[in-house]
């Protein structure tokens, strides 16, 4: 656990955001189980410290690109429950007017350039956003989230090469949760992930993705250096997804043990750890945190109720937004 800080407000916001993600996912999972959600979805539960640790080091002007497992990034970058649940259910008031759904969810107004259903599909987008910043003399930074499995996409090496050549303000954030669908990372990734970035002349870091403060501290440093033109950077975040690859992936024993899941959940949960730290450091009491949890739970169920009642887009929308004016 990283060393204490005095910024209570920041800490409480990080805690809140992590709980909001967990709560969002629990509700989303329930919607799926109740057959109220169209399609499938990929839960971010267990990885909250990654999205929150990173996004709390960013401003609203900074951009992120997200993945198929994108609810966490979306919440962490400032989205509201209401528009998120509406999107999840394909309703008109969703962030994408119901056209995107879980795999394309994003609060674009907070700099989220979108979740992406093509693994690795946003690596170019993130790097291009950084190129734009450099070109137009803007000082925002872009964070590109992707999984360990996505490191198998050649696109990553193409864009890291350009980012390194041109010193672009982009941070590649590899969420290594140990699995690519139903396959262990070690079976599909040879060598070392950070060495791959280093081979392109990119400074690379490995950090405990369950430690929100460690993630946040490192990111703050790297964001500041990016703003000074010292980018790009690469971070490998060691983390774990609690659920299956997607909500329908229930019987998982053939690719990972229940013991393994248990040990991550019981010994390394990012929220439990951070909560213990907050109480221990006297930043908040158990009661205060419980109250916060309850408030978030209430927010979520209200948003779910709202979304369930909300209207679907009108049929005429099917032809809208194919082309911009």
């Amino acid at each position: 656990m990283a060393k204490a800080k005095t910024n209570t407000e920041d800490y409480l916001r990080m805690y809140r955001q992590m709980v909001r993600i967990r709560t969002f996912e629990d509700n989303a999972n329930q919607l799926y189980l109740n057959a109220k959600m169209p399609g499938l979805t990929h839960m971010y539960s267990g990885e909250e410290a990654v999205a929150v640790g990173i996004c709390e080091a960013l401003t609203d002007d900074d951009r992120i690109t997200s993945t198929h497992r994108g609810h966490g990034h979306c919440v962490a970058k400032g989205a509201n429950f209401k528009e998120m649940f509406c999107e999840l259910l394909g309703k008109e008031e969703g962030y994408c007017r119901g056209k995107g759904g879980s795999m394309h969810i994003a609060d674009q107004s907070h700099g989220n350039l979108g979740a992406n259903a093509i693994v690795g599909g946003s690596m170019g987008i993130a790097t291009g956003s950084a190129l734009r910043a450099k070109l137009l003399g803007q000082d925002d930074v872009t964070v590109c989230f992707f999984g360990d499995g996505a490191t198998a996409q050649g696109l990553l090496y193409e864009v890291m090469n350009m980012a390194a050549l041109w010193n672009l303000p982009v941070i590649y954030a590899c969420e290594n949760n140990g699995y690519s669908e139903y396959t262990k990372t070690e079976e599909i990734a040879a060598g070392s992930i950070t060495a791959r970035a280093e081979a392109f002349g990119i400074e690379a870091f490995k950090v405990d993705g369950q430690d929100v403060l460690a993630v946040n501290e490192l990111t703050q440093k790297l964001v500041a250096r990016c703003r000074k033109g010292e980018g790009p950077f690469f971070i490998e975040l060691e983390t774990y997804r609690y659920h299956g690859h997607h909500v329908g992936d229930i019987n998982r024993e053939y690719y990972r043990t229940k013991d393994e899941e248990k040990s991550w959940k019981e010994d390394r949960d990012p929220i439990v750890r951070f909560r213990g730290y907050l109480v221990e450091q006297g930043i908040a009491t158990e009661d205060e945190l419980e109250a916060m949890n309850a408030e978030i739970a209430k927010d979520a169920s209200e948003a779910v109720a709202y979304a369930e009642q909300a209207a679907y887009p009108d049929g005429s929308e099917v032809n809208m937004h194919v082309y911009a004016d």
């Binding site: 399609g39 056209k99 690519s180 049929g315 099917v318 194919v322």
Partner: protein
């Protein structure tokens, strides 16, 4: 006859061909223990081992490239591409390499590979997991394209594909994996380039691919009650295309609708309609009508997605208009 699902039919075809030919192997993401997310390949790794049912990293261009090289040097790779939408990632290996190597080498090298992938919307999977991209592949000379419309078709066409000495792309409809159909226990193959007349009729020809065959059959059943007799034809392969059967039917019925789940513009229906117009022009009593998916990215919301694909009702409506002699299109 026993009935099995399309998924089982594919699985059987693979198992039979892999038993028959030791140079065949499967390459793709989560094809081994997981048997793919659609579970189509379950059990194969147990029989053939991880040397022949190979889990790859998420490197579509890469493993497609490997398949091309393996095919050129004496193996028969069967590539599993998890979603048809990912075909955009492997177009170079498929279209610049696999499709052209036999020709560019003056016939000296062959690329006998099969790419199994899927198509089909209305699964609430949004724009990047719902496309039906068969027209793109069909445009490139050197690749064959099969579109099975049932478990029976899937098995017979896949076995033929595996034995073909060219790159073959098979688009399976991902919503049909659990659909059952009678499939004989005995071995059979379905030749490429031979259309299947699913239903005979004299008033109008419905030419439909893949899942749209069911749509056409439903429309035909409805219309039969109204006294309109549809001939329903499944081309089975769009490259090669059995033009002769299609043309003969249209010469008989004088009307046709072509139905495919790919986007309508610059799509499969345009090609088939054009050939009918060119080659059966003087027999036509009405314009050949195309019905493809709307020219929009496939939306997530069920309220929108269902509007994008041809339905039995829409097909029946159109057939009625054509048979009534309405000049539906001409202004």
């Amino acid at each position: 006859m026993r009935e099995i699902t399309l998924s089982q039919a594919v699985n059987e075809a693979l198992a039979e061909e892999m038993r028959r030919d030791p140079t065949t192997f499967i390459l793709g993401e989560d094809v081994a223990e997981a048997g793919t997310p659609f579970k189509v390949l379950s059990g194969l790794v147990e029989e053939f081992g991880t040397a022949r049912v190979i889990d790859t990293p998420i490197s579509e261009p890469g493993f497609m490239g490997l398949a091309v090289g393996a095919a050129m040097t004496g193996a028969r790779p069967i590539v599993d591409l998890m979603f048809g939408d990912f075909i955009f990632l492997i177009m170079d290996q498929l279209c610049n390499q696999a499709a052209k190597i036999h020709y560019m080498s003056g016939g000296k090298l062959n690329v006998p590979l099969v790419l199994r992938t899927n198509m089909g919307a209305t699964r609430r999977s949004a724009a990047q997991h719902s496309q039906s991209l068969q027209a793109l592949v069909a445009h490139i000379p050197g690749v064959k394209v099969a579109m099975p419309s049932s478990a029976y078709e899937a098995k017979g066409l896949l076995k033929t594909a595996i034995r073909d000495n060219n790159p073959v792309v098979i688009f399976e409809d991902k919503l049909m994996y659990q659909d059952k159909a009678p499939v004989p226990e005995e071995e059979y193959l379905i030749p490429f380039g031979v259309a299947n007349v699913k239903r005979e009729g004299s008033d109008i020809t419905l030419i439909a691919t893949s899942s749209m065959v069911q749509v056409a059959e439903k429309a035909a059943a409805t219309l039969a009650k109204e006294g309109i007799e549809c001939e329903v034809i499944d081309p089975r392969t769009i490259v090669p295309l059995d033009e002769a059967t299609l043309i003969a039917s249209v010469k008989k019925t004088s009307r046709a609708i072509v139905i495919d789940e790919g986007h309508q513009s610059y799509g499969v229906t345009s090609e088939i309609a054009s050939r009918l117009n060119e080659k059966a022009f003087y027999y036509l009593d009405a314009p050949v009508v195309r019905m493809g998916a709307m020219d929009v990215p496939i939306p997530f919301s069920p309220a929108l997605e269902d509007l994008t694909v041809p339905t039995p009702e829409a097909v029946a409506d159109m057939a009625r208009k054509l048979c009534a002699g309405d000049m539906i299109h001409a202004a």
